[in-house]
Each structure stands twice: as structure tokens, then as C-alpha cells.
């Protein structure tokens, strides 16, 4: 194996070539902005998802059903290739953004992770122990106060283990951005392996960088769990 293939292009693998962001840095960027979009959407929409009013509940259910029932690759293609075929979109203000591959990948991955996060959070909200809500009501809390101080903080803590899986999945999903010309970590791996006509070094480098990144995310979540879920740990028998 000829590792010069990787070391000669190390900058491309890690951050870019001076004119554009590529490789690991682009993957990190896409990962963080998509997670952000997902989380910002998921917190209010998960509340609507568990609403007793079907007019509020059903549209959110439909959104998660559509995004969880189809592959991310199709979602990326529909947003990147499909929307470009609609003439009124091409002539609208949105076109300045939607013709950018990065925006399309961000939108698809963000909406996708939002759908999964809504279901995780909604599940945890529904599993709130009813005694907590009764106690909150007995304290005279309004519904909004209950939501802010009792239901959401508890549900978000209990969602951490399932959410950590979703976060790792989202990181791995970002690799599909390379299908629409983006040079993220997977994209750099593909382009370098093609340029040197050698599939090993470039892909192994990409795999190792993904593994390190995944390990780091995993570690952060273990730390978060030990901090915010400490109250759920079994009580130690030897205090």
C-alpha cells in the first residue's frame, strides 16, 4: 500500500484546499448544522405529536411517517434534483439556496433526523410518570409551566440514550452528502480513490476518521448520561 496517496492529500481529508471546506471539517459542519435543525424542530413538534387535538397531531405524524418510511438518499435526491425541475421554485428567492448542494444535503439530513427525534421525544413525553404531573398540578402550575419545568426536562433527560443512537446515525448519514457532489469525508475518499485508481488507502483513511469521530461522539454521550441521568442509577448498597 502506498500511504502517500493519503498524506499528500491530508489537507483535503481534514479541512480543505484553501478555496473550499472539504473532508472531516465539512462532515463536522454538516453534522452539527443538521443536528441543530433536527433538535430545533423536534422540541416543539414532539409536543404537538402528543397533543390530544388531531388537527395538531396528524400533520406531525404524517411528517415523521413520510421521513422515516423512505430512504435518506431519496430525500436528498428529491430536494436536490427534484425541486430543481419545478419552474416556480427556480424563479423564486428560494432558488439561491436550493441550488447549493450543501443546503440541500443539510435540509434533507436535518429533516430526516428531526423526524426520528420527534418520535423519540414524543415517546419519552408520553412515558412521564403521571404522579409527576399530578404533583405539578397540585402545586398550582399552569400547563405551560408544567411543560417547561416538569415534562420537557424529564423527557429530554430520559431521551438521552435513544438520542445518542440517533446522533451517531445522523453522523453516518452525512456520508450520503457525497452523492450530490459534496466533498465531505466520504466524498474525498471517493474522489481520491478514483484519482489514484486505488480503493484501499483513501477509503481506509476515511473509515478511520469516521471511527475516531464516532468514538468521540459516543464518549460525549456517556459523559452526558452520567451527569444528567445520575438520578436514575440504581442506588448503591454501600453508601
Amino acid at each position: 500500500m502506498n500511504w502517500h496517496v493519503v498524506f499528500d492529500n491530508l489537507a483535503l481529508f481534514l479541512w480543505g484546499d484553501g478555496t473550499r471546506t472539504t473532508g472531516l471539517l465539512l462532515t463536522v459542519e454538516l453534522f452539527i448544522t443538521s443536528l441543530g435543525l433536527g433538535l430545533v424542530m423536534a422540541i416543539p413538534l414532539s409536543l404537538l405529536r402528543v397533543s390530544s387535538n388531531p388537527l395538531l397531531r396528524t400533520p406531525v405524524w404524517l411528517f415523521t411517517y413520510l421521513f422515516r418510511g423512505t430512504p435518506l438518499l431519496v430525500q436528498i435526491y428529491i430536494i436536490y434534483f427534484g425541486l430543481a425541475e419545478i419552474s416556480w421554485i427556480r424563479s423564486s428567492w428560494a432558488w439561491t439556496y436550493l441550488r447549493e448542494a450543501y443546503i440541500c444535503a443539510w435540509l434533507a439530513i436535518g429533516l430526516n433526523t428531526a423526524a426520528y427525534t420527534i418520535e423519540i421525544l414524543a415517546g419519552c413525553i408520553q412515558k412521564t410518570f403521571h404522579g409527576e404531573i399530578e404533583a405539578a398540578r397540585a402545586m398550582g402550575m399552569s400547563r405551560w409551566t408544567q411543560m417547561r419545568h416538569i415534562i420537557l426536562p424529564g423527557a429530554m433527560r430520559r431521551a438521552i440514550p435513544a438520542y445518542s443512537n440517533e446522533v451517531v446515525l445522523t453522523l453516518h448519514c452525512t456520508a450520503l452528502a457525497s452523492s450530490i457532489t459534496l466533498l465531505d469525508l466520504a466524498g474525498v475518499g471517493r474522489s481520491i480513490s478514483m484519482r489514484y485508481a486505488s480503493p484501499y488507502e483513501a477509503y481506509i483513511a476515511a473509515l478511520v476518521l469516521y471511527a475516531v469521530f464516532t468514538g468521540l461522539v459516543f464518549l460525549l454521550f456517556r459523559l452526558a448520561e452520567s451527569k444528567w441521568l445520575a438520578y436514575l442509577r440504581p442506588r448503591s448498597t454501600h453508601p
Binding site: L73, A175, S178, A186, S198, A206, Y210, A211
Partner: protein
């Protein structure tokens, strides 16, 4: 219908179903083996199995697919040159089935491992006391009970893998996405054709969810769900 591409898209959907079912069969069989290896007392079995599941799950399935597909093809070509036979072009379908199966066996092994650990130890011990041999204990006592714990994970993995078959379009397998995308390029109606492909996936996922609910009910026989 569908600008003359209805047959092509239907054929793609069939390939997608085939890749999904076959690679899931590979993943189930291999996952069961790896889970048993992980739980083995022998360190030379447990350690490589654990390394395999950790390494596989640490990077995207898409990058693994590209690496194993093109790496495998290159390795075969080099081997051909060395040994003096004609280079073999690997079949995209067979290769996709095997590679997806191997990748997802790592995820299933984790599911099976947890499910095996959830079965009460006394069950296997009492079966042994009744004179069952080790294979009988596994087949008749442990595996049927393990399945109930494993099913939620298996269902989840199936739904994830069914959608992951889409990435095989990137190694030019003629499946649903690949064919609807090329039909879209040829006709200029990419949006409609991609939406049709998405709806077919939606149908497959929905049918799977319903079917899996029936299977879960079968394995839940004799157990009761606790409601507070």
C-alpha cells in the same frame, strides 16, 4: 404510465426487495453466530467478534459498502493477475447482498447478544438437568425465549436495512433508486419518478411494520405486558 418507465421501476422495486430479503437473511445468520462468539468463554472467539462489531458500527454503512465493493474487485483482479486467470467482474447483486449482510450482521449481533443475556439462566440450567444436550437447550429453550427480547431490535434493523438498500444504487446495482433516477434523467420528469420510488419504499416499510407486529404477537405467546 410513468412516461413508459413503469416496467423498469417495477423491476427495480423487485431487485430492492430481493437485495433486502437476501442480505437480511445473511445478516441474521451471521449476526447469530457473532453474538454467540461474543458471549463465548473462549477469549480467542469473543475478542475478534467484539472487535468486528465495534469496527463495523463505527463508520457509515455507505463508506463500508464502497470500500468492500471496490476493494474486493481490485483484490480479485490482483489475485487473477498473480494466479494467471482472467479477471472476474463481480456481480453487483451478489456483492451487494453479501456486503450489506456482513455490515448489518454487526448491528444484529448486538441485538442478539442483549436478548441472550435477557433470558433467565435458570431456564437453560433446568433444561440441562432434564437431560437436554447443549444443542437442544439452545434450540428448544433458549432461542425461542430469546426471540421475544430480540424482536424489537430485529424489526428496527430490518426497517433500517430495507432503506439502506438504496445505497447499493451507488455501486450501479439496478435497484429502485438507480432505475428511477436514470428514468428521471431520460425523461426530464425526475421529481415525479423519485416520488414514485419514495412511495414504493413507504409501502414496503408500512407492510413490514404490520407483518412484524404479527410475528411479535406470535413470540409473545405466554408472556403478558405489564400496564400500570
Amino acid at each position: 404510465m410513468l412516461y413508459g418507465y413503469a416496467d423498469s421501476i417495477l423491476a427495480g422495486a423487485l431487485v430492492t426487495i430481493k437485495v433486502g430479503v437476501f442480505s437480511f437473511a445473511v445478516a441474521l445468520a451471521l449476526g447469530l453466530l457473532v453474538a454467540n462468539a461474543k458471549l463465548s468463554k473462549h477469549r480467542w472467539l469473543a475478542w475478534p467478534a467484539t472487535a468486528f462489531t465495534s469496527v463495523m458500527r463505527s463508520a457509515p454503512d455507505f463508506v463500508w459498502l464502497l470500500f468492500l465493493y471496490y476493494g474486493g474487485q481490485t483484490a480479485l483482479n490482483l489475485l487473477g493477475q498473480r494466479m494467471g486467470f482472467q479477471a472476474i467482474d463481480i456481480d453487483a447483486f451478489a456483492a451487494s447482498v453479501i456486503i450489506l449482510g456482513v455490515i448489518y450482521s454487526a448491528y444484529l449481533a448486538e441485538t442478539f447478544r442483549g436478548a441472550f443475556l435477557a433470558v433467565d439462566k435458570g431456564q437453560a440450567e433446568s433444561a440441562q438437568a432434564f437431560g437436554f444436550n447443549r444443542l437442544q437447550v439452545q434450540m428448544h429453550i433458549v432461542v425461542p425465549q430469546m426471540m421475544r427480547f430480540a424482536l424489537p431490535g430485529i424489526s428496527n434493523n430490518w426497517l433500517v436495512m430495507l432503506k439502506a438498500t438504496a445505497i447499493t444504487s451507488m455501486v450501479s446495482l439496478n435497484e429502485l433508486i438507480f432505475l428511477s433516477r436514470s428514468a428521471g434523467k431520460a425523461t426530464g420528469h425526475g421529481l415525479e419518478l423519485l416520488i414514485v420510488a419514495a412511495l414504493i419504499y413507504l409501502l414496503l416499510s408500512t407492510v413490514s411494520v404490520v407483518a412484524l407486529r404479527f410475528i411479535a404477537a406470535h413470540y409473545a405467546a405466554g408472556s403478558k405486558e405489564i400496564t400500570l
